[in-house]
Symmetry: C2
Subunit: 499 residues, 2 copies
C-alpha cells in the first residue's frame, strides 16, 4: 500500500464510519428523547447490528495495513493526517481487544440498560437495574484487564477518557479539593441561607421552553445548526457542525434546573459547533477529551452562567416570562439564589463549591466497583454512606442516590472525574481570557459571542487535532494547577457568604 | 442452495434489512420532526450511504438465488414464507432496474428536497423547489419506463402503490365521484353555512398537546408503543409493533387541524401496532398497500372522527381544556362545524364531500407530469387552473397550492389516489363492521377498542400476508364498489344540509 493509497483508504473509511456513527447517534438521541418506552429492545438490536459493522470495519486487516502505512510515513504527514491515523489506531487497538460478538452484545445491553435505568430511577428500584449494571461493570473490568493487565483496571479506564490520567493525578487532586473546600463548606453552613422562596413557585413548562429559546439566543447558538430536545438526564449529541443537539429537562418547581442544563449543554454544543471546517467529516471532528469537553460546558454553566453579570442579563428575561413568580426579586437575590451553596443530593443541581465532592464520591465508588472491592448489590449502601460522610446528607431513596446519573447505563465508568477536572481547567482559561477579552462587558451586553470566539480560537477549532495536554497548556497559559480552581471558589464563596 | 439454506438466508437478510431500514426510518423521522434546519445535507449523505448498502444486499446474486430456490419450492412453503419470498422478489425486481449510484443519489436528493420543500412552502417559492421536483419526476418516469416501457409510465407507478391499479380503474372511479358529488357540492353551497365562529378563536398550543394525549387515549393507542411528534406535514412511521410514531401539527387558530391529524395518523398507527406477532421482524410486518393503509387512517378520521357520536365524546374534553373558546357550543354545533362542506384550498383540511376532488386534481396533474405533457415550471399554473375549474376556488399562493403536500419530496408520485380509494374502502368496511360490533355504542363510550379489534382481525394482523385485493374482499364483504362511498356521502351531507 502506498502512502497515497493509504490516505485514500483512510478517507473512505472515515466516510463509512461517519454514516454508521451518524445512524447510531440518531438512534441514541431518538431513544433518549422521543422514542416510546417499549422501543428499547428493537433499537438495541439495530444498534448492536450497526456497531458490529463498525467493529468489523475498524478491526479489518486492511485498516491495520493503512494505519501501519501512514504511521511508517509519520514524518511526511501533515499534523492533521498524522492525528487521523493516530486516533484511528487508538480506536482500533481498543476494539481489537473485544471480539465482535461480545462488542455487539454489549451495545445491545447498553441500549436496554438505558431504558431499564429510566424506569428504575422513577421507581427508585435499584434491584431491577442491578443485573444490567453488573454486566456493564464486568465488561469494563474485562476490557481494562485485556488492555493492560499490569495497571489497576480503573486507571486503564480513566486513561480512555483523558490520556495519561490515573489515580496518581486524581487522588491528590481530590485530596486538595476536599482539604481546601471542606472548611469553606462548613463555614458556609453556619451563615444565613439566601432567600430562595421565589424558586419554589410554579414555572409553567411551556413558558420554560420559551426561556430555553432565549437563553440559547443569548449564548449565540444558531438554532438552524442546533436543536433542543427533552430528556430525563440532559446530554449533548453532535453529528457535525450543522447538526448538534442539546437536551434539557423541565420541572415546574425548578426553573434553574432547566436554565443551567441549557447553559451547560450549550457549552458542549458550542464546542461541537466550533470544530474547524478543515476537520469536518474526519475522525478529528469532535472534542479532544471528555475533560476538555466538560471544561467548556462547566465554563458556561458556572463561570459565566452563575456570574453576577449573567444574572443581570437573566433577570429581565425571567421577569418578562414569569412576572408573578419573579415579583420583587432583584439581581442580588437571583445571584445569591443561583449560587446557594449547601450539601445536597443531586450532582447536576449542585453548587460549584460542593460539586467536586459529588464527583469525588463517584470516583471512589467506581474505583471500588472496578477493582471488585465493591459488589454491585452494595453500591446503594456505599453511596449513601459516602454522602453521609462527605456531605452530611441522608439519601432518602436511590432515585436521588445512586440511580440519579445516566452514565453507567451508557458504559461510562471513569468519566465522572472529567467534570471536576474540566471545572478546574475552566478557571485557568477564564484568567487567560480576561487578559484578551472584556468578558464581563460581553456578558452584561447579553452577547456571549466574544467569549465563544476566544474559546473557539484556543480550543474548539482544533477538535482532536491537539491533545488535551496541548490544549490545556495553550488555553490555560501554562500547566494545569488546581490551586487556581480552589482559589476561585474560596474567593467567590468568601464574598457571597461574607466569610 | 437447499430450501432450508434459502429460508435461513432469508431470515438473515431480513435481519440485515430490518437494521438498515430502522436506521433510515429513524434518520427520516428525526429529520422531519426535530433535526435542525441545516442538518439536511449531511443526513442526506448518510441516508444515501445506508440506502446503497440496502441496494447492494437486495440486488446481490445470492439474494436472487435464495428467491429462486424458495419460489421453485412454492408449493412446499407456508403462505407466510411464500409471501416473504414474493415481497422480496418484488422489491428486488424494482431495485435491479436502478444502478446503485443512481439509487443513492436519488436518496440524497430526496433528503435535501424535503428540506428545500419546507423552506419553499413557507416562502411560497416554487422556483427554488422546482429543480428538485424536476429531478424527482425524471427519476420516476425513467424508473417506470425501465420497468415496463409498454404501459403508460404513470400506470406503472400506480401499480407500485397498489398492485393492479391503473388509469383503467381510476378514470371511471374519479368520473363517478365527480359526476355524483358535484351536484351535491353545488347544492350545499346554496345552504346556510354552519356556525364556525368558535373555531376561529385562539387555542393555545400547550393545551392542544394535552388534547392530543386525550384523543390518543380514547383511540386506545398505548403511548408506550407509540409516540407523537410534531412536523409540518403529519405522517406516521412504524418500525415495529412496539415502536410507532405519529406526527401532528399545531396551529393556534385551528384546533380541528390537530385533532383530525391525530385521528388520521392514529389510524395508520393502529394498523402498524396491530400487525401479527408471527410477522414481526419479517418483510411482511407492515401495511398491505397504501390504499389499505389510508383506508384505516381515513376510517378513523372521518367515519369515526367526524361522526355525531364522536363529537359527543369530544365536546366535554374540549370544554375541559378550552372552556372560554368552547363556551356555548353544543354537540350539534361541533358536529356541523366538523363537517362543514365547502370548496377549499387544503386537501388535508378538506371535508369528506370535496376531499376526493382534491385527490382527483393531483391524479390528473401527476398523469400529465409523468407523461411529459406538463412541464415542472407549469405545475403551479395548472394546479391553480384545476382548483378554479373543479372546486371554484382561487389559489392565492403556492403555499396553499401546489406546495402544500410533502409527497413529491419523498418521491411519492402515484400515491394520492390511495387516499380516495382508501376512503371508499372504509365505507364498505364500516357497513360490514356494523353487523358484528356496536360501533356507535363503542364510540359513545369513548373507547374505540372494539372497532380496532374488528379491523385488527380483518386487516391489521395480516400485514402483507394478504394482498390488498384479498383484504378488501374479506373486510368489505365482497368486491369493491365505489357506490357505497358515494351513497354514504350523499346521505350524510343530505341530512347535514337538509338537501
Amino acid at each position: 500500500m502506498t502512502l497515497n493509497e493509504a490516505l485514500a483508504a483512510l478517507g473512505g473509511l472515515e466516510a463509512t464510519l461517519r454514516a454508521y456513527n451518524h445512524a447510531l447517534g440518531c438512534l441514541n438521541y431518538d431513544g433518549e428523547t422521543v422514542a416510546p418506552r417499549n422501543s428499547a429492545p428493537a433499537r438495541g438490536e439495530t444498534m448492536a447490528f450497526l456497531s458490529g459493522i463498525i467493529h468489523e470495519k475498524i478491526t479489518a486487516p486492511e485498516t491495520g495495513e493503512l494505519i501501519d502505512t501512514l504511521l511508517s510515513h509519520r514524518d511526511e504527514l501533515s499534523l492533521k493526517d498524522r492525528r487521523r491515523a493516530e486516533v484511528l489506531k487508538e480506536g482500533r487497538d481498543d476494539l481489537t481487544l473485544v471480539p465482535a460478538d461480545e462488542y455487539m452484545a454489549y451495545q445491545q445491553l447498553m441500549a436496554e440498560a438505558m431504558q431499564v435505568w429510566h424506569d428504575a430511577k422513577l421507581a427508585s428500584d435499584f434491584a431491577s437495574y442491578a443485573p444490567y449494571l453488573d454486566k456493564i461493570i464486568a465488561y469494563n473490568r474485562r476490557f481494562a484487564q485485556r488492555k493492560d493487565a499490569k495497571r489497576p483496571a480503573y486507571d486503564v479506564l480513566l486513561d480512555g477518557y483523558e490520556k495519561g490520567l490515573s489515580h496518581e493525578t486524581l487522588d491528590p487532586f481530590f485530596a486538595l479539593l476536599r482539604g481546601e473546600l471542606t472548611p469553606v463548606i462548613l463555614e458556609v453552613a453556619k451563615r444565613p441561607r439566601p432567600d430562595t422562596a421565589f424558586l419554589e413557585k410554579r414555572y409553567p413548562i411551556h413558558l420554560q421552553r420559551q426561556f430555553t429559546d432565549r437563553v440559547m439566543q443569548i449564548m449565540g447558538i444558531d438554532r438552524d445548526d442546533c436543536a433542543a430536545g427533552e430528556t430525563e438526564h440532559p446530554f449533548t449529541e453532535g453529528f457535525n457542525k450543522h447538526d448538534v443537539r442539546i437536551t434539557t429537562h423541565y420541572h415546574e418547581d425548578s426553573v434553574l434546573s432547566n436554565l443551567y442544563s441549557v447553559v451547560h449543554e450549550g457549552g458542549h454544543a458550542l464546542y461541537e459547533l466550533g470544530v474547524g471546517d478543515d476537520l469536518q467529516g474526519t475522525l478529528l471532528a469532535s472534542g479532544s477529551s471528555m475533560s476538555i469537553h466538560e471544561s467548556q460546558s462547566r465554563f458556561y454553566e458556572n463561570l459565566i452562567g452563575r456570574s453576577h453579570a449573567f444574572c443581570e442579563v437573566l433577570l429581565p428575561e425571567l421577569k418578562a416570562l414569569f412576572p408573578e413568580q419573579m415579583a420583587g426579586v432583584d439581581v442580588e437575590t437571583l445571584y445569591r439564589a443561583a449560587n446557594l451553596a449547601e450539601p445536597s443530593l443531586i450532582r447536576t443541581e449542585a453548587d460549584e463549591l460542593t460539586y467536586s465532592i459529588h464527583v469525588m464520591i463517584r470516583y471512589e465508588l467506581e474505583k471500588a466497583m472496578i477493582s471488585g472491592d465493591l459488589k454491585t448489590a452494595d453500591i446503594p449502601g456505599e453511596w449513601n454512606r459516602m454522602y453521609r460522610e462527605y456531605l452530611g446528607v441522608e439519601v432518602p431513596d436511590d432515585r436521588r442516590g445512586c440511580l440519579q446519573d445516566s452514565h453507567w447505563s451508557f458504559g461510562a465508568i471513569g468519566y465522572f472525574p472529567s467534570y471536576a477536572l474540566g471545572s478546574a481547567y475552566g478557571v485557568q482559561m477564564l484568567e487567560q481570557m480576561e487578559k484578551d477579552v472584556d468578558v464581563w462587558g460581553a456578558v452584561r451586553a447579553g452577547d456571549l459571542r466574544p467569549i465563544t470566539a476566544w474559546l473557539g480560537d484556543k480550543i474548539h477549532r482544533y477538535g482532536q487535532l491537539l491533545t488535551p495536554n496541548e490544549l490545556v497548556l495553550s488555553a490555560c497559559g501554562g500547566p494545569f494547577d488546581a490551586h487556581h480552581y480552589v482559589n476561585y471558589l474560596k474567593k467567590k464563596y468568601g464574598e457571597l457568604y461574607s466569610l
